[in-house]
């Protein structure tokens, strides 16, 4: 792998930047791998990267039916935080947060992780009680967090309407300073380059059409480029997980919903943190380019169309203008949708399945991006050892039979 550095940039400038090597190869599929990862988004590529780098499993293929990071990795609003209520979830997201903090160095790829802090606003007394409880729980788990009052919020975000005149006046917020945003595409590309450098085969335009299962044990997949064999298969396919599960002959407790996001025209720097409001129902940050990045709730119906409905767009923008009257005349540039696989308890599924050797990592709903490194790391550990990593253990799909749910609807935030 060609390492990136300032010196390299200067060197390549001398040859007009014509001799950069490709970031990853485009190999032809082998007949057989030790592990197959289905899904070439952030989580899948991270899994492959850690498998090869940390757990010594280098004979790995990532199978992606479209292009790398073309699903929810490219469609989210890039918020990274770890202020979850329950110990199990906090451990998982904080594991990811710690990896985020060293990720650019680890990958030798600038993922533009910017710890600009995230505010979760409270607009009612109950909101504030929930926020206090969550911040206290976070601190007990060693996760940074503070409870701010309205004045504190106003100091952090002077342009927000924190007056009493708002329909739902801001009463305070939880504040996680270590949280922030990252560059979504760079995360996928950085992991892809790193995985490729460790020998992982990344197979794009390759669609899994079925699983090869004998006596309850998986031994490969059917694809549109022929059959590929492996005794361990990990599916990381977000919105399409239910479709894959059906190929495996079982159901998942998932529903796939459209989730929308929008960006505005670029404007000068005005918002240097991330603001989320569950109650008024919207979240917003400003990208390095200057676009306002805006998101809100899912559409209530199931859908694989990667587009959302107009009433949701209207609702989202009403919430943003309610909080930020100053943005009322900003024009929106683009709007799109992703397919989020929501779980009944707003927590993911990282799990073995009824098919031996077949593992699923899904159900991240509206909040998968923030967990990308942690999800990949614990899933890789589980695939390598054949036993679930202790952090992943509580997220078994069988918790919906045992009743050991991890209800994170409060911390999952705006929508789920």
């Amino acid at each position: 792998m060609q390492r990136y550095s300032g010196f390299g940039l200067v060197k390549h400038a001398l040859s007009h930047h014509e001799n950069w090597e490709r970031q990853w190869r485009n190999p032809t599929p082998k007949k057989q791998y030790d592990v197959i990862i289905v899904g070439g988004g952030g989580h899948g590529l991270a899994t492959a990267y850690y498998l090869a780098k940390e757990f010594g499993v280098k004979n790995v293929a990532v199978i992606e039916k479209g292009w790398l990071g073309g699903g929810n990795t490219a469609r989210n609003t890039t918020i990274v935080r770890s202020n979850y209520l329950w110990d199990e979830a906090a451990a998982l997201y904080e594991h990811a947060m710690k990896l985020w903090e060293g990720l650019s160095q680890d990958l030798n790829y600038n993922v533009m992780f910017s710890q600009r802090g995230v505010l979760n606003l409270g607009h009612t007394l109950q909101d504030m009680r929930d926020i206090q409880r969550r911040v206290n729980a976070n601190r007990l788990n060693g996760i940074d967090g503070e409870v701010l009052d309205a004045k504190g919020v106003q100091e952090l975000v002077p342009i927000m309407d924190c007056s009493k005149n708002a329909r739902y006046p801001v009463m305070g917020a939880s504040w996680q300073p270590r949280a922030g945003v990252a560059r979504h595409d760079a995360v996928a590309w950085g992991y892809a380059r790193g995985a490729d450098a460790h020998g992982v085969d990344i197979l794009q335009q390759t669609e899994v059409t079925g699983f090869k299962i004998r006596d309850g044990q998986i031994y490969g997949v059917h694809t549109n480029r022929g059959d590929i064999e492996a005794k361990t298969v990990g599916c990381v396919a977000a919105g399409n997980s239910s479709v894959l599960a059906k190929m495996g002959g079982f159901n998942l407790p998932l529903e796939s919903h459209p989730l929308q996001a929008l960006v505005s025209e670029p404007i000068k720097p005005i918002l240097d943190t991330v603001v989320m409001s569950n109650h008024v129902h919207g979240y917003i940050s400003q990208s390095d380019k200057g676009d306002l990045v805006i998101g809100a709730g899912i559409d209530g119906y199931n859908g694989y169309g990667q587009r959302g409905s107009y009433p949701t767009v209207e609702h989202t923008l009403q919430a943003i203008v309610e909080m930020f009257p100053i943005f009322s005349r900003v024009r929106m540039n683009r709007q799109w949708g992703g397919i989020v696989d929501t779980c009944p308890d707003a927590c993911p599924i990282i799990s073995k399945t009824p098919v031996k050797g077949l593992y699923f990592n899904c159900g991240w709903g509206t909040g998968g991006f923030k967990a990308t490194p942690g999800s990949g790391h614990v899933f890789a550990a589980s695939l390598a050892k054949g036993e679930m990593h202790p952090i992943a253990e509580p997220f078994s799909m069988f918790r919906f039979h045992s009743g050991a749910l991890i209800d994170e609807h409060g911390a999952a935030g705006v929508a789920h």
């Binding site: 039916k65 479209g66 073309g70 699903g71 929810n72 977000a238 919105g239 399409n240 239910s242 479709v243 059906k246 159901n251 998942l252 407790p253 998932l254 529903e255 796939s256 559409d299 209530g300 119906y301 199931n302 859908g303 694989y304 169309g305 990667q306 409905s309 107009y310 009433p311 992703g338 397919i339 696989d341 009944p344 919906f400 039979h401 045992s402 009743g403």
Partner: protein
Amino acid sequence: MFYIYCPYCGEHREEEEFHPKGQAHIERPKEPEACSDEEWGDYLFFRDNPRGVHHEMWVHAVGCRKFFNVTRHTVSYEILETYKMGEQPSITADSQGPSREAAAVSQKEGVRA
């Protein structure tokens, strides 16, 4: 934007008047006490989530406030039929090949997540 035919109001109404309410035709176990954990968990949490023809409940929340069923394609979002509670769908995944619109959408690039 959906334009939904409410089988009780007898006319098409705007999406804003409705709420989706999840998968249709889920039957509550006759004897919940006799259920195994697995059966009860399946009933509560496990759902059909097809990429294609799907049967779901909607409620005409701002309107007649009746629940009814919708058969809808989850890729093209085309509504294939709506029918009253207690009735059975006349269009199912088996009876329906991929619809024209759905086929067109799935061929379009960028819809292949």
